[in-house]
C-alpha cells in the first residue's frame, strides 16, 4: 500500500518535476519496486507515443511563405519607410527636373546637394541604414579606421538634443567618405564628411549653397575636410549640429 503514495506522483516524477531533494529517494524506490517500475515503463511508453502522435500537423509551404512575407517585421518596415522616403526622393527628383526644365542651366552646386539628398534618402530607406550601430562616438569613430583615408572628430552630444545612431561608409563621385546619422526629436539628420582634395573641383566650391531642396542643408570646409549636414529637421537644428561639428574639428 506504500506504493500508492509513490504511484500518485509517478507522472510528476516522469515529467521531471519532483523536487531535487526527493529525486534520489524516488529513483531508489522505482528501481527496487517491481510494480512501480512496470507502471513507470508503461507511462513512459505512453508519453513517447503521445509525443510522436502529437506532432501531427505541419504548415503548408504556401502558408509558411505568406507568414514570412507578412509577419517579418523587416519587410513591413522596409515597405513603409521605403514608400515614404521614395515619395520624398520623388519630390527631390521632381524639384530637380523642374529646375532643369525651367531654368535650363542648373548649376553644379545644386547638383551636389541633389546627390547628397539622394544619398541621405537612399540610406534611410535601406533596411540597414547604418553599418556601425552605436550612440557612442568612441565606438563609431574608430570603426572608420582603415576604411576611409582620413580622420575626423565627432562632437560631444551630452548637453544637446542630438543623439548619434551610427555610421556607414559612403561614396560621392567615387570619393570615399563617412556618413553619420543623428536623431533629433524623431528627425534623422545625415552628416557627410569627405576629404576636400579628393573631391572634383565643383564639389569643393566654397560658394556651395543648398539651393532649392526639400531638405534643409548646410556645408562648409574645415581642416581639409568637406562637411555636408542634411535632413528634414528645422534649419535651426541643422545649424546647431553643424556648429557642434565645427567646434569639435
Amino acid at each position: 500500500m506504500v506504493c500508492e503514495s509513490w504511484k500518485a506522483r509517478l507522472d510528476t516524477y516522469l515529467d521531471g518535476e519532483v523536487p531535487q531533494e526527493e529525486l534520489r529517494t524516488f529513483d531508489a524506490h522505482v528501481r527496487n519496486c517491481h510494480s512501480c517500475s512496470a507502471d513507470a515503463l508503461s507511462r513512459v511508453q505512453l508519453k513517447r507515443a503521445i509525443q510522436v502522435a502529437g506532432k501531427r500537423f505541419t504548415p503548408s509551404a504556401e502558408f509558411r511563405k505568406r507568414i514570412q512575407q507578412n509577419m517579418s517585421p523587416k519587410p513591413r518596415r522596409r515597405f513603409h519607410v521605403g514608400w515614404t522616403l521614395a515619395a520624398a526622393a520623388a519630390v527631390v527628383l521632381v524639384v530637380g527636373t523642374l529646375t532643369l526644365t525651367y531654368l535650363g542651366n542648373r548649376s553644379g552646386r545644386d547638383q551636389v546637394f541633389s546627390e547628397i539628398a539622394d544619398l541621405h534618402v537612399a540610406t534611410l530607406a535601406s533596411s540597414s541604414p547604418v553599418d556601425v550601430i552605436s550612440t557612442d562616438r568612441h565606438t563609431v569613430k574608430p570603426w572608420f579606421q582603415g576604411k576611409i583615408p582620413f580622420a575626423f572628430n565627432l562632437p560631444e552630444l551630452q548637453n544637446s538634443e542630438f543623439s548619434l545612431l551610427g555610421g556607414r561608409m559612403t561614396y560621392l563621385e567615387q570619393t570615399p567618405g563617412a556618413h553619420l546619422i543623428y536623431d533629433v526629436r524623431k528627425h534623422h539628420i545625415s552628416v557627410f564628411i569627405f576629404q576636400e582634395r579628393s573631391l572634383p573641383a565643383r564639389l569643393s566650391d566654397n560658394a556651395l549653397q543648398p539651393g532649392q531642396l526639400s531638405f534643409n542643408a548646410e556645408t562648409w570646409s574645415q581642416g581639409g575636410l568637406r562637411y555636408f549636414v542634411i535632413g528634414d529637421a528645422s534649419p535651426a537644428d541643422i545649424d546647431s549640429l553643424a556648429r557642434l561639428f565645427k567646434a569639435a574639428s
Binding site: 515529467d15 518535476e17 507502471d39 507515443a49 509525443q51 502522435a53 507568414i67 507578412n70 518596415r77 551610427g166
Partner: protein, 192 residues
C-alpha cells in the same frame, strides 16, 4: 521611436518567433481541428504578438507568452467560445478516479505493439479541449509545469491535477478503442 531601437526590437521579435512557427501551427491545428482556422489563428497570433511585443520583457519566457496569446485568441474565437461553453466550470475540481490496477496489456503496451498512432491521435482529438491542450503542452511541447502554468494562466497545482485527469481520460478512451481494433482483435498481444 529611434531608428536603431525599433530595428533592434523587430529583429528580436523575428529571432524569437520564427523558430516557434511549426510548433504554434501544430498546436493551433489541434485546437481548431481545421487547417484554415489554424492558419488564421497562427496569423492572428503573430500580428497580436508583434503589436504587443513592446510589453514583452526580453529575458522572460517568450514561448509561454506567445502560446498564451494563441490560446487566448482561440478562446475568444467563435469555435473557442463554443468549446468553452461545453466544458463544465468545475472540471478541475472533480475527484480523481483511482488509478486502474496494473494490467498486463495496458493501453500503453498495446499502442507500442500496434503502433496505433491513428488511434492515439483520434483519442487525443476526442479529449475535451482543456485536457487536449495541457497534454500537448506537456508531452509534445515538453513545457515545464511552470511554463504550462504561465501559458494557461492557472496555478501549478491546477496544472498537476488537470494533467493527471487528462492522462486518465486518455487511457480510458484508449482502452475500448484498442479492444475494438480488428488488428488487435486478431490478437498477437501475448507476451506484452
Amino acid at each position: 521611436m529611434d531608428l536603431s531601437g525599433a530595428n533592434l526590437q523587430l529583429d528580436s521579435f523575428e529571432e524569437l518567433a520564427t523558430p516557434l512557427f511549426d510548433q504554434l501551427y501544430n498546436f493551433a491545428h489541434w485546437l481548431t481541428q481545421n487547417r484554415d482556422e489554424a492558419e488564421d489563428l497562427v496569423q492572428e497570433t503573430y500580428v497580436k504578438a508583434l503589436k504587443g511585443f513592446s510589453s514583452f520583457q526580453l529575458g522572460t519566457n517568450f514561448r509561454a507568452w506567445i502560446y498564451r496569446i494563441l490560446r487566448n485568441t482561440f478562446l475568444t474565437s467563435r469555435k473557442g467560445l463554443k468549446v468553452t461553453m461545453t466544458v463544465p466550470l468545475d472540471f478541475d475540481d472533480e475527484e480523481e478516479e483511482p488509478e486502474p490496477a496494473i494490467e498486463r496489456d495496458t493501453p500503453e503496451t498495446l499502442l507500442l505493439a500496434r503502433s496505433s498512432q491513428e488511434l492515439l491521435q483520434k483519442a487525443i482529438d476526442e479529449l475535451p479541449m482543456h485536457f487536449r491542450e495541457i497534454l500537448l503542452l506537456c508531452e509534445v511541447e515538453e513545457m515545464s509545469y511552470q511554463e504550462i502554468s504561465e501559458t494557461l494562466a492557472v496555478p501549478i497545482g491546477t496544472v498537476m491535477s488537470r494533467l493527471s485527469r487528462a492522462r486518465q481520460s486518455l487511457r480510458s478512451q484508449l482502452r475500448p478503442q484498442l479492444q475494438q481494433d480488428p488488428r488487435i482483435a486478431r490478437g498477437t498481444n501475448h507476451g506484452l
